[in-house]
Symmetry: C3
Amino acid sequence: MWYSSSRSSVRSGEMAKLTQLIDNEVFRAYATYATIVLLKMMLMSLITAYFRITRKAFVNPEDTASFGKGESAKKYLRTDADVERVRRGHLNDLENIVPFLGIGLLYALSGSDLSTALLHFRIFVGARITHTLAYLIPLPQPARGLSWVVGYAVTISMAYKVLKTALYL
Amino acid sequence: MWYSSSRSSVRSGEMAKLTQLIDNEVFRAYATYATIVLLKMMLMSLITAYFRITRKAFVNPEDTASFGKGESAKKYLRTDADVERVRRGHLNDLENIVPFLGIGLLYALSGSDLSTALLHFRIFVGARITHTLAYLIPLPQPARGLSWVVGYAVTISMAYKVLKTALYL
Amino acid sequence: MWYSSSRSSVRSGEMAKLTQLIDNEVFRAYATYATIVLLKMMLMSLITAYFRITRKAFVNPEDTASFGKGESAKKYLRTDADVERVRRGHLNDLENIVPFLGIGLLYALSGSDLSTALLHFRIFVGARITHTLAYLIPLPQPARGLSWVVGYAVTISMAYKVLKTALYL
Protein backbone atom coordinates (compact mmCIF):
# COMPACT_ATOMS: atom_id res chain seq x y z
CA MET A 1 0.00 0.00 0.00
CA TRP A 2 1.29 3.45 -0.81
CA TYR A 3 1.07 4.78 2.67
CA SER A 4 3.19 2.01 4.07
CA SER A 5 6.23 3.08 2.07
CA SER A 6 9.25 4.21 4.07
CA ARG A 7 9.23 7.78 5.33
CA SER A 8 12.00 8.92 3.01
CA SER A 9 10.10 7.68 -0.06
CA VAL A 10 6.95 9.36 1.11
CA ARG A 11 8.95 12.52 1.61
CA SER A 12 10.31 12.73 -1.90
CA GLY A 13 6.89 11.84 -3.29
CA GLU A 14 5.23 14.47 -1.13
CA MET A 15 7.39 17.23 -2.42
CA ALA A 16 6.30 16.72 -5.98
CA LYS A 17 2.73 16.06 -5.07
CA LEU A 18 1.66 18.48 -2.40
CA THR A 19 2.59 21.52 -4.39
CA GLN A 20 -0.22 20.40 -6.67
CA LEU A 21 -2.92 21.52 -4.29
CA ILE A 22 -3.15 24.25 -6.86
CA ASP A 23 -4.52 21.65 -9.31
CA ASN A 24 -7.76 21.34 -7.36
CA GLU A 25 -10.37 23.46 -9.13
CA VAL A 26 -12.07 24.85 -6.00
CA PHE A 27 -8.64 25.71 -4.60
CA ARG A 28 -7.67 27.38 -7.88
CA ALA A 29 -10.86 29.43 -7.75
CA TYR A 30 -10.02 30.47 -4.19
CA ALA A 31 -6.46 31.35 -5.22
CA THR A 32 -7.75 33.47 -8.08
CA TYR A 33 -10.39 35.43 -6.17
CA ALA A 34 -8.30 35.81 -3.00
CA THR A 35 -5.45 37.24 -5.09
CA ILE A 36 -7.79 39.61 -6.94
CA VAL A 37 -9.38 40.96 -3.77
CA LEU A 38 -5.95 41.35 -2.13
CA LEU A 39 -4.70 43.28 -5.16
CA LYS A 40 -7.79 45.46 -4.87
CA MET A 41 -6.95 46.07 -1.21
CA MET A 42 -3.35 46.88 -2.11
CA LEU A 43 -4.65 49.46 -4.59
CA MET A 44 -5.96 51.44 -1.60
CA SER A 45 -2.36 52.18 -0.60
CA LEU A 46 -1.66 53.68 -4.00
CA ILE A 47 -4.85 55.76 -3.88
CA THR A 48 -3.91 57.01 -0.40
CA ALA A 49 -0.45 57.97 -1.66
CA TYR A 50 -2.01 59.69 -4.70
CA PHE A 51 -4.31 61.81 -2.52
CA ARG A 52 -1.56 62.57 0.01
CA ILE A 53 0.65 63.90 -2.79
CA THR A 54 -2.00 65.78 -4.82
CA ARG A 55 -3.71 67.22 -1.70
CA LYS A 56 -0.35 67.83 0.00
CA ALA A 57 -1.60 66.24 3.24
CA PHE A 58 1.05 64.29 5.11
CA VAL A 59 1.45 62.91 8.58
CA ASN A 60 5.19 62.31 9.02
CA PRO A 61 7.53 65.35 9.20
CA GLU A 62 10.16 63.55 7.11
CA ASP A 63 7.63 63.24 4.26
CA THR A 64 7.40 67.02 3.83
CA ALA A 65 11.15 67.68 3.88
CA SER A 66 11.19 68.18 0.10
CA PHE A 67 8.84 71.18 0.54
CA GLY A 68 11.48 73.06 2.49
CA LYS A 69 12.14 73.47 6.20
CA GLY A 70 10.27 75.01 9.10
CA GLU A 71 6.80 76.53 8.77
CA SER A 72 6.67 76.26 4.98
CA ALA A 73 6.77 72.44 5.23
CA LYS A 74 4.82 72.19 8.48
CA LYS A 75 1.61 73.36 6.88
CA TYR A 76 1.48 70.14 4.86
CA LEU A 77 1.26 68.08 8.05
CA ARG A 78 -2.52 68.00 8.05
CA THR A 79 -5.45 65.70 7.51
CA ASP A 80 -7.46 65.84 4.30
CA ALA A 81 -11.04 64.61 3.91
CA ASP A 82 -10.27 62.58 0.78
CA VAL A 83 -7.18 60.95 2.29
CA GLU A 84 -9.15 60.00 5.41
CA ARG A 85 -11.94 58.56 3.27
CA VAL A 86 -9.56 56.25 1.39
CA ARG A 87 -7.96 55.23 4.67
CA ARG A 88 -11.35 54.29 6.12
CA GLY A 89 -12.06 52.23 3.02
CA HIS A 90 -8.67 50.53 3.42
CA LEU A 91 -9.29 49.67 7.08
CA ASN A 92 -12.75 48.36 6.22
CA ASP A 93 -11.07 46.14 3.62
CA LEU A 94 -8.69 44.76 6.23
CA GLU A 95 -11.56 44.08 8.64
CA ASN A 96 -13.52 42.16 6.01
CA ILE A 97 -10.90 40.64 3.70
CA VAL A 98 -8.90 39.05 6.53
CA PRO A 99 -11.95 36.90 7.56
CA PHE A 100 -12.55 36.06 3.89
CA LEU A 101 -8.92 34.94 3.44
CA GLY A 102 -8.98 32.69 6.51
CA ILE A 103 -12.50 31.31 6.29
CA GLY A 104 -12.35 31.13 2.47
CA LEU A 105 -9.18 29.04 2.56
CA LEU A 106 -10.75 26.58 5.01
CA TYR A 107 -13.93 26.59 2.94
CA ALA A 108 -11.94 25.79 -0.20
CA LEU A 109 -10.50 22.77 1.63
CA SER A 110 -13.89 21.66 2.97
CA GLY A 111 -14.90 19.84 -0.19
CA SER A 112 -17.70 22.10 -1.35
CA ASP A 113 -18.68 21.73 -4.99
CA LEU A 114 -17.14 24.02 -7.57
CA SER A 115 -20.22 25.98 -8.61
CA THR A 116 -21.23 26.80 -5.02
CA ALA A 117 -17.69 27.85 -4.21
CA LEU A 118 -17.43 30.04 -7.31
CA LEU A 119 -20.75 31.67 -6.38
CA HIS A 120 -19.40 32.56 -2.93
CA PHE A 121 -16.06 33.85 -4.18
CA ARG A 122 -17.55 35.89 -7.04
CA ILE A 123 -20.22 37.54 -4.90
CA PHE A 124 -17.70 38.39 -2.17
CA VAL A 125 -15.20 39.95 -4.56
CA GLY A 126 -17.96 41.78 -6.44
CA ALA A 127 -19.35 43.11 -3.16
CA ARG A 128 -15.95 44.39 -2.02
CA ILE A 129 -15.26 46.11 -5.34
CA THR A 130 -18.71 47.72 -5.11
CA HIS A 131 -17.96 48.74 -1.51
CA THR A 132 -14.78 50.49 -2.58
CA LEU A 133 -16.53 52.32 -5.44
CA ALA A 134 -19.39 53.30 -3.10
CA TYR A 135 -16.85 54.62 -0.58
CA LEU A 136 -14.65 56.55 -2.98
CA ILE A 137 -17.13 58.10 -5.44
CA PRO A 138 -19.04 58.29 -2.91
CA LEU A 139 -22.41 56.76 -3.77
CA PRO A 140 -25.42 57.67 -1.60
CA GLN A 141 -26.34 55.15 1.07
CA PRO A 142 -27.43 52.36 1.24
CA ALA A 143 -24.98 51.45 -1.58
CA ARG A 144 -21.98 51.13 0.71
CA GLY A 145 -23.97 49.56 3.55
CA LEU A 146 -25.56 46.94 1.31
CA SER A 147 -22.30 45.96 -0.39
CA TRP A 148 -20.76 45.56 3.06
CA VAL A 149 -23.68 43.34 4.21
CA VAL A 150 -23.41 41.13 1.11
CA GLY A 151 -19.69 40.47 1.66
CA TYR A 152 -20.33 39.84 5.35
CA ALA A 153 -23.16 37.39 4.62
CA VAL A 154 -21.06 35.43 2.11
CA THR A 155 -18.30 35.05 4.71
CA ILE A 156 -20.82 33.85 7.33
CA SER A 157 -22.18 31.32 4.82
CA MET A 158 -18.68 29.94 4.22
CA ALA A 159 -17.99 29.87 7.98
CA TYR A 160 -21.16 27.80 8.47
CA LYS A 161 -19.98 25.28 5.87
CA VAL A 162 -16.49 25.10 7.45
CA LEU A 163 -17.89 24.50 10.93
CA LYS A 164 -20.39 21.91 9.62
CA THR A 165 -17.58 20.03 7.87
CA ALA A 166 -14.66 20.44 10.25
CA LEU A 167 -16.07 21.08 13.73
CA TYR A 168 -13.60 19.71 16.26
CA LEU A 169 -13.82 21.53 19.57
CA MET B 1 4.74 2.76 -6.72
CA TRP B 2 2.03 5.34 -6.46
CA TYR B 3 4.23 8.32 -6.98
CA SER B 4 5.55 6.97 -10.24
CA SER B 5 2.13 7.08 -11.87
CA SER B 6 1.80 9.42 -14.83
CA ARG B 7 1.16 13.08 -14.04
CA SER B 8 -2.38 13.03 -15.38
CA SER B 9 -3.38 10.16 -13.08
CA VAL B 10 -1.82 11.89 -10.11
CA ARG B 11 -3.72 15.03 -11.06
CA SER B 12 -7.16 13.46 -11.07
CA GLY B 13 -6.32 11.61 -7.88
CA GLU B 14 -5.08 14.79 -6.26
CA MET B 15 -8.31 16.61 -6.83
CA ALA B 16 -10.34 14.17 -4.83
CA LYS B 17 -7.72 13.73 -2.22
CA LEU B 18 -6.22 17.07 -1.35
CA THR B 19 -9.53 18.57 -0.39
CA GLN B 20 -9.39 16.08 2.45
CA LEU B 21 -6.78 18.05 4.35
CA ILE B 22 -9.83 18.84 6.40
CA ASP B 23 -9.85 15.19 7.57
CA ASN B 24 -6.70 15.71 9.62
CA GLU B 25 -7.75 16.23 13.24
CA VAL B 26 -5.23 18.95 14.11
CA PHE B 27 -6.20 20.77 10.93
CA ARG B 28 -9.88 20.41 11.77
CA ALA B 29 -9.22 21.86 15.22
CA TYR B 30 -7.41 24.79 13.59
CA ALA B 31 -10.28 25.27 11.13
CA THR B 32 -12.79 25.30 13.99
CA TYR B 33 -10.98 27.72 16.29
CA ALA B 34 -9.76 30.00 13.49
CA THR B 35 -13.33 30.28 12.21
CA ILE B 36 -14.70 30.97 15.70
CA VAL B 37 -12.16 33.71 16.43
CA LEU B 38 -12.75 35.29 13.00
CA LEU B 39 -16.51 35.29 13.61
CA LYS B 40 -15.81 36.97 16.95
CA MET B 41 -13.73 39.59 15.16
CA MET B 42 -16.49 40.11 12.59
CA LEU B 43 -18.91 40.71 15.47
CA MET B 44 -16.94 43.89 16.25
CA SER B 45 -18.23 45.41 12.99
CA LEU B 46 -21.82 44.79 14.08
CA ILE B 47 -21.15 46.27 17.52
CA THR B 48 -19.55 49.34 15.92
CA ALA B 49 -22.59 49.75 13.65
CA TYR B 50 -24.92 49.32 16.65
CA PHE B 51 -23.14 52.06 18.63
CA ARG B 52 -22.90 54.39 15.60
CA ILE B 53 -26.65 54.13 15.08
CA THR B 54 -27.77 54.27 18.74
CA ARG B 55 -25.28 57.04 19.64
CA LYS B 56 -25.89 58.81 16.31
CA ALA B 57 -22.14 59.20 15.73
CA PHE B 58 -21.09 58.90 12.11
CA VAL B 59 -18.03 59.75 10.10
CA ASN B 60 -19.22 59.86 6.47
CA PRO B 61 -21.57 62.70 5.39
CA GLU B 62 -23.58 60.28 3.20
CA ASP B 63 -24.37 58.21 6.32
CA THR B 64 -26.32 61.05 7.94
CA ALA B 65 -28.38 61.99 4.87
CA SER B 66 -31.47 60.28 6.33
CA PHE B 67 -31.38 62.76 9.23
CA GLY B 68 -32.06 65.66 6.87
CA LYS B 69 -29.76 68.14 5.14
CA GLY B 70 -27.39 70.83 6.28
CA GLU B 71 -26.70 71.58 9.94
CA SER B 72 -29.35 69.21 11.30
CA ALA B 73 -27.46 66.24 9.82
CA LYS B 74 -23.98 67.67 10.32
CA LYS B 75 -24.18 67.42 14.10
CA TYR B 76 -24.15 63.62 13.81
CA LEU B 77 -20.70 63.71 12.19
CA ARG B 78 -18.87 63.27 15.46
CA THR B 79 -16.83 60.78 17.44
CA ASP B 80 -18.35 58.90 20.36
CA ALA B 81 -16.37 57.33 23.21
CA ASP B 82 -18.17 53.98 22.94
CA VAL B 83 -17.75 53.78 19.17
CA GLU B 84 -14.05 54.56 19.47
CA ARG B 85 -13.67 51.91 22.19
CA VAL B 86 -15.16 49.20 19.97
CA ARG B 87 -12.99 50.33 17.09
CA ARG B 88 -9.85 50.06 19.22
CA GLY B 89 -10.91 46.54 20.23
CA HIS B 90 -11.45 45.70 16.56
CA LEU B 91 -8.01 46.98 15.54
CA ASN B 92 -6.41 45.08 18.42
CA ASP B 93 -8.16 41.96 17.10
CA LEU B 94 -6.69 42.52 13.65
CA GLU B 95 -3.21 43.02 15.10
CA ASN B 96 -3.40 39.78 17.07
CA ILE B 97 -5.68 37.49 15.07
CA VAL B 98 -3.76 37.95 11.80
CA PRO B 99 -0.57 36.48 13.38
CA PHE B 100 -2.68 33.67 14.89
CA LEU B 101 -4.21 32.84 11.51
CA GLY B 102 -0.86 32.70 9.71
CA ILE B 103 1.28 31.10 12.40
CA GLY B 104 -1.58 28.83 13.55
CA LEU B 105 -2.07 27.47 10.02
CA LEU B 106 1.64 26.67 9.72
CA TYR B 107 1.60 25.21 13.23
CA ALA B 108 -1.36 22.97 12.30
CA LEU B 109 0.72 21.65 9.39
CA SER B 110 3.84 21.16 11.51
CA GLY B 111 2.79 17.80 12.87
CA SER B 112 2.21 18.74 16.49
CA ASP B 113 0.11 16.32 18.48
CA LEU B 114 -3.62 16.90 18.81
CA SER B 115 -3.84 17.62 22.53
CA THR B 116 -1.04 20.22 22.46
CA ALA B 117 -2.58 21.87 19.41
CA LEU B 118 -6.03 21.96 21.02
CA LEU B 119 -4.50 23.51 24.14
CA HIS B 120 -2.94 26.30 22.07
CA PHE B 121 -6.06 26.99 20.02
CA ARG B 122 -8.44 26.93 23.00
CA ILE B 123 -6.31 29.23 25.15
CA PHE B 124 -5.84 31.70 22.28
CA VAL B 125 -9.54 31.88 21.45
CA GLY B 126 -10.47 32.08 25.15
CA ALA B 127 -7.95 34.88 25.67
CA ARG B 128 -9.28 36.89 22.73
CA ILE B 129 -12.90 36.52 23.87
CA THR B 130 -11.81 37.64 27.35
CA HIS B 131 -9.92 40.55 25.79
CA THR B 132 -13.05 41.70 23.96
CA LEU B 133 -15.19 41.45 27.10
CA ALA B 134 -12.53 43.29 29.13
CA TYR B 135 -12.43 46.04 26.49
CA LEU B 136 -16.16 46.49 26.04
CA ILE B 137 -17.54 46.15 29.58
CA PRO B 138 -14.83 47.53 30.46
CA LEU B 139 -13.17 45.48 33.18
CA PRO B 140 -10.51 47.14 35.36
CA GLN B 141 -6.93 46.47 34.41
CA PRO B 142 -5.00 44.16 34.34
CA ALA B 143 -7.88 42.08 32.87
CA ARG B 144 -7.44 43.39 29.34
CA GLY B 145 -3.65 43.49 29.59
CA LEU B 146 -3.38 39.93 30.84
CA SER B 147 -5.76 38.48 28.26
CA TRP B 148 -3.70 40.24 25.57
CA VAL B 149 -0.45 38.78 26.98
CA VAL B 150 -1.90 35.24 27.06
CA GLY B 151 -2.97 35.36 23.41
CA TYR B 152 0.41 36.85 22.47
CA ALA B 153 2.33 34.15 24.37
CA VAL B 154 0.32 31.33 22.74
CA THR B 155 1.15 32.75 19.30
CA ILE B 156 4.86 32.97 20.18
CA SER B 157 4.76 29.36 21.39
CA MET B 158 3.28 28.22 18.06
CA ALA B 159 5.81 30.33 16.14
CA TYR B 160 8.63 28.60 18.02
CA LYS B 161 7.27 25.18 17.05
CA VAL B 162 6.87 26.25 13.39
CA LEU B 163 10.44 27.58 13.21
CA LYS B 164 11.81 24.47 14.97
CA THR B 165 10.02 22.21 12.47
CA ALA B 166 10.23 24.17 9.25
CA LEU B 167 13.22 26.50 9.48
CA TYR B 168 14.60 27.05 5.97
CA LEU B 169 16.37 30.35 5.61
CA MET C 1 -4.10 2.05 -7.96
CA TRP C 2 -3.60 3.91 -4.71
CA TYR C 3 -6.41 6.33 -5.24
CA SER C 4 -8.93 3.59 -5.74
CA SER C 5 -8.54 2.35 -2.18
CA SER C 6 -11.59 2.59 0.02
CA ARG C 7 -12.34 6.00 1.55
CA SER C 8 -11.56 4.93 5.09
CA SER C 9 -8.06 3.74 4.13
CA VAL C 10 -7.39 6.91 2.26
CA ARG C 11 -8.56 8.84 5.31
CA SER C 12 -6.18 7.27 7.77
CA GLY C 13 -3.37 7.58 5.25
CA GLU C 14 -4.21 11.20 4.63
CA MET C 15 -3.90 12.12 8.26
CA ALA C 16 -0.31 11.04 8.49
CA LYS C 17 0.58 12.39 5.13
CA LEU C 18 -0.98 15.76 4.68
CA THR C 19 0.62 17.19 7.77
CA GLN C 20 3.83 16.74 5.85
CA LEU C 21 3.16 19.66 3.59
CA ILE C 22 5.80 21.16 5.81
CA ASP C 23 8.33 18.80 4.19
CA ASN C 24 8.13 20.68 0.91
CA GLU C 25 11.12 23.03 0.73
CA VAL C 26 9.33 26.01 -0.85
CA PHE C 27 6.57 25.63 1.72
CA ARG C 28 9.13 25.44 4.52
CA ALA C 29 10.73 28.63 3.24
CA TYR C 30 7.32 30.31 3.20
CA ALA C 31 6.61 29.06 6.73
CA THR C 32 9.94 30.44 7.95
CA TYR C 33 9.71 33.90 6.39
CA ALA C 34 5.99 34.32 7.07
CA THR C 35 6.60 33.50 10.73
CA ILE C 36 9.56 35.89 10.95
CA VAL C 37 7.66 38.80 9.40
CA LEU C 38 4.63 38.11 11.64
CA LEU C 39 6.88 38.10 14.72
CA LYS C 40 8.30 41.41 13.51
CA MET C 41 4.76 42.76 13.21
CA MET C 42 3.91 41.49 16.69
CA LEU C 43 6.94 43.37 18.01
CA MET C 44 5.14 46.60 17.09
CA SER C 45 2.61 45.90 19.87
CA LEU C 46 5.42 45.67 22.41
CA ILE C 47 7.03 48.89 21.13
CA THR C 48 3.66 50.66 21.34
CA ALA C 49 3.20 49.44 24.91
CA TYR C 50 6.77 50.55 25.76
CA PHE C 51 6.16 54.09 24.45
CA ARG C 52 2.72 54.31 26.07
CA ILE C 53 4.23 53.45 29.45
CA THR C 54 7.44 55.51 29.22
CA ARG C 55 5.67 58.54 27.66
CA LYS C 56 2.65 58.08 29.94
CA ALA C 57 0.25 58.44 26.99
CA PHE C 58 -2.83 56.25 27.23
CA VAL C 59 -6.18 56.12 25.54
CA ASN C 60 -8.40 54.06 27.87
CA PRO C 61 -9.38 55.57 31.27
CA GLU C 62 -8.98 52.15 32.96
CA ASP C 63 -5.31 52.12 31.88
CA THR C 64 -4.47 55.18 33.97
CA ALA C 65 -6.22 54.02 37.16
CA SER C 66 -2.88 53.14 38.77
CA PHE C 67 -1.88 56.83 38.53
CA GLY C 68 -4.66 57.81 40.91
CA LYS C 69 -8.18 59.10 40.34
CA GLY C 70 -9.65 62.23 38.81
CA GLU C 71 -7.57 64.94 37.15
CA SER C 72 -4.21 63.49 38.21
CA ALA C 73 -4.87 60.39 36.06
CA LYS C 74 -6.81 62.17 33.31
CA LYS C 75 -3.77 64.09 32.11
CA TYR C 76 -2.26 60.79 30.91
CA LEU C 77 -5.14 60.29 28.49
CA ARG C 78 -3.36 61.94 25.60
CA THR C 79 -1.71 61.21 22.29
CA ASP C 80 2.06 61.13 21.96
CA ALA C 81 3.98 61.64 18.71
CA ASP C 82 6.16 58.55 19.25
CA VAL C 83 3.22 56.31 20.13
CA GLU C 84 1.34 57.47 17.03
CA ARG C 85 4.40 56.85 14.88
CA VAL C 86 4.69 53.23 16.03
CA ARG C 87 0.95 52.75 15.51
CA ARG C 88 1.21 54.03 11.94
CA GLY C 89 4.06 51.61 11.33
CA HIS C 90 1.95 48.79 12.80
CA LEU C 91 -1.04 49.61 10.58
CA ASN C 92 1.23 49.82 7.53
CA ASP C 93 2.50 46.35 8.46
CA LEU C 94 -1.05 45.01 8.57
CA GLU C 95 -1.85 46.57 5.19
CA ASN C 96 1.21 45.00 3.57
CA ILE C 97 1.83 41.78 5.49
CA VAL C 98 -1.76 40.50 5.10
CA PRO C 99 -1.42 40.48 1.27
CA PHE C 100 2.00 38.80 1.62
CA LEU C 101 0.56 36.08 3.88
CA GLY C 102 -2.32 35.30 1.52
CA ILE C 103 -0.59 35.68 -1.83
CA GLY C 104 2.67 34.18 -0.49
CA LEU C 105 0.87 31.04 0.69
CA LEU C 106 -0.76 30.57 -2.71
CA TYR C 107 2.57 31.32 -4.38
CA ALA C 108 4.30 28.68 -2.23
CA LEU C 109 1.72 26.16 -3.49
CA SER C 110 2.05 27.25 -7.12
CA GLY C 111 5.11 25.14 -7.80
CA SER C 112 7.68 27.88 -8.24
CA ASP C 113 11.29 26.80 -7.92
CA LEU C 114 13.05 27.10 -4.58
CA SER C 115 15.62 29.77 -5.44
CA THR C 116 13.03 32.12 -6.99
CA ALA C 117 10.73 31.64 -4.01
CA LEU C 118 13.54 32.28 -1.53
CA LEU C 119 14.44 35.45 -3.43
CA HIS C 120 10.88 36.74 -3.13
CA PHE C 121 10.51 35.86 0.55
CA ARG C 122 13.91 37.25 1.56
CA ILE C 123 13.47 40.54 -0.27
CA PHE C 124 9.97 41.02 1.16
CA VAL C 125 11.03 40.35 4.74
CA GLY C 126 14.15 42.49 4.34
CA ALA C 127 12.07 45.32 2.90
CA ARG C 128 9.58 45.21 5.77
CA ILE C 129 12.33 45.19 8.42
CA THR C 130 13.92 48.17 6.63
CA HIS C 131 10.51 49.88 6.52
CA THR C 132 10.10 49.50 10.27
CA LEU C 133 13.60 50.84 10.97
CA ALA C 134 13.02 53.74 8.56
CA TYR C 135 9.74 54.54 10.31
CA LEU C 136 10.98 54.30 13.89
CA ILE C 137 14.45 55.87 13.75
CA PRO C 138 13.19 57.77 11.54
CA LEU C 139 15.36 57.75 8.45
CA PRO C 140 14.98 60.60 5.94
CA GLN C 141 12.86 59.84 2.91
CA PRO C 142 12.97 58.10 0.47
CA ALA C 143 14.17 55.29 2.80
CA ARG C 144 10.70 54.42 4.06
CA GLY C 145 9.03 55.02 0.72
CA LEU C 146 11.49 52.83 -1.17
CA SER C 147 11.33 49.95 1.31
CA TRP C 148 7.54 50.09 1.04
CA VAL C 149 7.71 49.99 -2.78
CA VAL C 150 10.07 46.99 -2.74
CA GLY C 151 7.77 44.94 -0.50
CA TYR C 152 4.79 45.97 -2.62
CA ALA C 153 6.54 44.99 -5.87
CA VAL C 154 7.54 41.57 -4.51
CA THR C 155 3.91 40.89 -3.56
CA ILE C 156 2.71 41.93 -7.04
CA SER C 157 5.31 39.62 -8.59
CA MET C 158 4.04 36.67 -6.51
CA ALA C 159 0.41 37.58 -7.35
CA TYR C 160 1.28 37.49 -11.05
CA LYS C 161 2.76 34.00 -10.67
CA VAL C 162 -0.29 32.79 -8.69
CA LEU C 163 -2.73 34.12 -11.31
CA LYS C 164 -0.64 32.69 -14.17
CA THR C 165 -0.63 29.25 -12.49
CA ALA C 166 -4.07 29.07 -10.90
CA LEU C 167 -6.38 31.42 -12.82
CA TYR C 168 -9.89 30.04 -12.61
CA LEU C 169 -12.52 32.73 -12.91
